[in-house]
Symmetry: D2
Subunit: 136 residues, 4 copies
């Protein structure tokens, strides 16, 4: 059953959103918001039935934020058995992209991923579960 | 200036969304939807000023979908100069996670990323630009 | 106790070897050969005390050698639990470098590594154990 | 034309070498030494005709050797344009394996690779050029 809700948004943000959904070919805002919500839920409700799962954490930060690198290494070391590999890529003169592949109990790697993403100094962080999209 | 819009959503989806935003500590749906939209815009409007950018593509698929592997390899080969590395991880007996790091003209790697993500047979695909989050 | 052995070598190869060891600053051929043997032994006699070890396999091959890619994937799939990640890098228009990170029982990953390296079509293959160099 | 040279070796090392070449199925020591020399020459004489080449550096070190990590990062940063990716793998509680993929002018990446391998604190380091084995 379809329900109707009201959402308050900044006008400038709304204009940019309308432009984006037009470009994407959505018929209306409801469809576009529904897809955003569904995508979020698939990632959030993600859990591995057999308990072991794979996920990827993407982190953008300035490489001379020395303290951040140390905190990352420390978090990863605590959860040593869950970190498959950590790969660095230089994005440009200032910024690094760090790609952390995690494997382990779904709950544990989600917690680790969220702590990495929310570290102070991370400019853009994403926790992307290796979902097969079957949960929704 | 704040504007109010109406959104139609399936009741079941709305229930799950309400549960998620409660767990996340949002004060109301507007705040949560605003964050989803902003996150999407940051990724979509992403563009590198100097023209060169870095992005990551995450693809989950069944590894015996032979034809898919061939199509991926073929797409990546066409854009050979933009593919930094391609890393495979076995998720479980059936599923693979492929992590493709791209570097090149923002427009070109976005197009390549979107083509990879939308390949038939990809169960879950994400194009994550290496944004520093400064565009919004 | 030092022993003296006789070695027969092609004159052309010997000339190139003499040139190399000169450039490297070796005092004589015995020292240089001793280092080659020691390095080989460290890698060959490598074994992990606790049974689990890490190793890297480096493979150069032409990427359109389709049958080789299939054989690699098949070997890696058989030993799925020992393959951490497989990373591809395009070397040039024709050649690929594949970097396979292995973790598992030392004996098992050595066998897998040697089978990968000796696959028909591999132009240059190296099995490099993650030795800490303590065995010799 | 075959030439005969004399080599002085420690008796204990010789015994281990004899055992290894027996296991490998070599007919005699000359064949085994010849293969070691050829393999070394292929790697050393390696050079890319078009000037650009790919190589891999493998480094084993203790991860709490903080100063070493800083020196590595600094060397890699200096040659930023030649470092494709840097991947860390935890070998065991104490040791890390770092896999650095290099791409750039053959001479430059060889120099960088050799500096990384010879850093104080590296327990086992290998510079493996992405040779196609055609030079010898």
């Amino acid at each position: 059953m379809v329900e109707r809700i009201g959402i308050s948004l900044d006008g400038k943000l709304l204009r940019r959103f309308d432009k984006l959904i037009g470009a994407k070919g959505y018929a209306n805002r409801s469809e576009a918001v529904r897809d955003l919500i569904r995508e979020k839920l698939v990632e959030e409700e993600w859990a591995a039935p057999k308990g072991e799962a794979v996920a990827t954490v993407l982190l953008v930060y300035e490489h001379d934020t020395l303290d951040l690198a140390r905190k990352m290494a420390s978090l990863e070391h605590e959860a040593y058995h869950c970190v498959v590999t950590t790969t660095h890529v230089h994005m440009d003169h200032d910024n690094c992209l760090e790609i952390v592949i995690l494997r382990g109990p779904a709950r544990e790697i989600k917690r680790l991923g969220e702590r990495l993403v929310s570290l102070r100094g991370v400019k853009h962080g994403r926790f992307v579960p290796g979902t097969t999209g079957r949960t929704i």
